[in-house]
């Protein structure tokens, strides 16, 4: 277990203690009511959202924040829509101006088809925002060296993607994600590309400290049920990781003693076709 976690297994990011390791996105739900129910079911304390221009033709207060009134949440605005570090810094400053804290998820897409993050601009933005006093959680590709660089640049947590945003392809490179989690000295939150509860469990078993999900919850047939499934999978995966799995082996090992097996000859060990269970 990392030293960021306490005896009670809390996750600590930028000095903030979190009971839940589930970060929930707030986009693309069928309705605000479903989103709020999914939030409840997920147990998430950290919610993400985006910064966009106000629609000047109909300036109703459709801000996502109006739905969160009187809830105790950590707000994690992202910089989606930014194509470079300058734009991400601008969005981060605007988000901070809303007065909801200084956390920011750096998200800089280099390619509109894959939305994969631009590693160089992400690193630049992280360096600058850390200097400006933000608690920076960069969304990054699942590259162990890059994730290390982001940590060194002062990221409060690093969020490698499992697969491109919204694809639901799961963890495309579990080997890298495992390495990232193993080497990290800040929390690792697996972000993007998760499809279902199994992916969440796998991420946690690989050693991740938490996960961020939006589309797989919001676009599931039953978002509330999926939010709950992922919460349970997260807990199961973390317990599983802590329990310590057996090493995989190529051939079978009987789970019962061979001695006293029925139908065997006196020298049972000579008969390899016997398969006691």
């Amino acid at each position: 277990m990392r030293n960021e976690t306490t005896d009670k297994d809390m996750l600590v990011i930028g000095g903030t203690r979190l009971r839940s390791r589930f970060f929930l996105g707030t986009g693309r739900y069928p309705s605000p009511a479903v989103m709020l129910m999914a939030l409840e079911a997920s147990g998430a304390e950290v919610v993400t959202f985006a910064v966009r221009r106000v629609n000047l033709e109909c300036a109703e207060d459709d801000s996502i924040l109006s739905h969160f009134a009187d809830r105790k949440l950590i707000y994690l605005p992202n910089t989606s829509g930014a194509g470079n570090a300058d734009e991400a810094v601008r969005i981060a400053r605007l988000a901070r101006e809303a007065g909801l804290g200084n956390w920011v998820k750096v998200e800089i897409s280099a390619n509109s088809r894959t939305l994969l993050p631009d590693p160089l601009e992400t690193l630049r933005a992280t360096e600058r925002l850390v200097k400006e006093g933000f608690t920076v959680l960069p969304y990054a590709s699942d590259d162990p060296v890059l994730c290390k660089r982001l940590e060194e640049a002062g990221a409060a947590a690093v969020m490698p993607g499992g697969a491109p945003i919204g694809t639901g392809l799961g963890l495309l490179n579990p080997y890298h994600l495992g390495l990232i989690a193993e080497e990290a000295r800040v929390p690792i939150i697996v972000d993007a590309g998760l499809g279902a509860a199994a992916d969440v469990a796998q991420a946690m078993e690989l050693g991740a400290d938490g996960i961020l999900a939006n589309t797989p919850v919001a676009r599931a047939r039953d978002p509330v049920a999926m939010a709950k499934a992922m919460r349970l999978a997260l807990e199961a995966g973390r317990l599983s990781a802590q329990a310590g799995r057996i090493p995989p082996k190529r051939y079978a090992t009987a789970s019962s003693e061979a001695n006293g097996v029925l139908f065997g000859s006196a020298d049972a060990d000579a008969d390899s076709r016997r398969r006691p269970t």
Binding site: G25, T48, V51, R53, V54, E97
Partner: protein, 316 residues
């Protein structure tokens, strides 16, 4: 620790330019005029005297929330609790100064070629001086690098750079047009009978250049300026502008959320009200800089301004 990113007008002391006037009086006038970073440079003073000056300037600059940089002497910067040190190419290397000052203080260095600028950036300088752009009596015998070095630095150097060397209100526009976003002056300010007025002139040229840059479609997004102490002075100035504007309501063309519109609004608040945003949870940006809601009423709207009103929406 002070952030050099938000500094635009760097003024260096030069007591030989103002015989008969006190160092503190001249520098306070410069700060009042908009100098937002000050450097103590005195190549002739003995160390003890330099330290006294550094301490006096520290008190002055702290009062006004302006960073203080000490030329050549990291140990005096430390002793006077200055914000950083400025090195020449012949001084101790950046790494040595950094080791002494730690990661939080500012380390800047003069550069006279793009190769030196690149090396400084790689070595971890927080900012560089780029010059001398024009021949200057402050650095006799050093060949001017011309605005072509300014353009080269603008194109590839990512840390802040201050164009320096013979810059005054009469030639600053040329330096800014070459790509400088920050200026440094010595004689044009401290040698002026009214250092504050010289600073105000230079600042307004910088601001005009920023506005022009933010209007150009291809212009890079501004790094912006942190809400900070420098703004206070500016706000006061802008209140004056608003008063003038209010007297004659003008129709102006501005870009709001990417769409060109005409408006009679004199302030950001009046513009927000036109869209029913005056009491909403919106956050605004004017010409690439956050405009906090508290200053909407005193933020003047000028023709060509680019305003963004943003809010939070669902996202992952």
């Amino acid at each position: 620790m002070s952030n050099v990113n938000r500094c635009k007008l760097y003024v260096i002391t030069g007591e030989t330019y103002h015989p008969g006037r006190e160092l503190l009086e001249v520098m306070e006038s410069a700060i009042a005029g908009g100098a937002d970073v000050v450097q103590l440079r005195d190549k002739d003073a003995p160390v003890r005297e330099l330290l006294e000056k550094a301490r006096a300037l520290r008190e002055l600059t702290r009062k006004h929330g302006v960073p203080l940089i000490v030329n050549d002497h990291p140990e005096i910067a430390l002793a006077a609790d200055a914000d950083g040190v400025h090195l020449g190419q012949e001084d101790a290397p950046i790494a040595a100064a950094r080791e002494l000052l730690g990661p939080d203080r500012i380390v800047g260095i003069s550069t006279h070629s793009i190769a030196q600028a690149r090396a400084a950036e790689r070595a971890g300088a927080d900012y560089i001086g780029v010059g001398p752009v024009y021949p200057t009596a402050t650095k006799p015998g050093r060949a001017a690098v011309t605005t072509s070095f300014v353009a080269a630095a603008a194109a590839e150097i990512r840390i802040p750079f201050f164009a320096i060397g013979g810059i005054h209100p009469g030639n600053a526009a040329e330096v800014l047009a070459a790509g400088a976003r920050r200026l440094c002056a010595v004689s044009a300010v401290v040698g002026s009978p009214d250092p504050g007025a010289a600073c105000r002139e230079l600042r307004s040229l910088i601001e005009r250049s920023e506005r022009a840059a933010s209007l150009g479609e291809a212009a890079p997004l501004g790094e912006g300026v942190n809400p900070g102490q420098a703004r206070e002075v500016k706000e006061v100035k802008e209140v004056k502008k608003v008063k003038q504007v209010n007297e004659v309501k003008q129709v102006k063309e501005v870009t709001v959320n990417g769409v060109r519109r005409t408006t009679e609004a004199a302030t950001l608040l009046e513009l927000a009200a036109e869209f029913g945003l005056a009491d909403k949870n919106a956050v605004a940006e004017r010409n690439g800089r956050v405009a906090r809601k508290a200053i909407w009423p005193i933020t003047p709207l000028a023709g060509g301004d680019r305003i963004e009103f943003v809010q939070f929406v669902g996202g992952g």
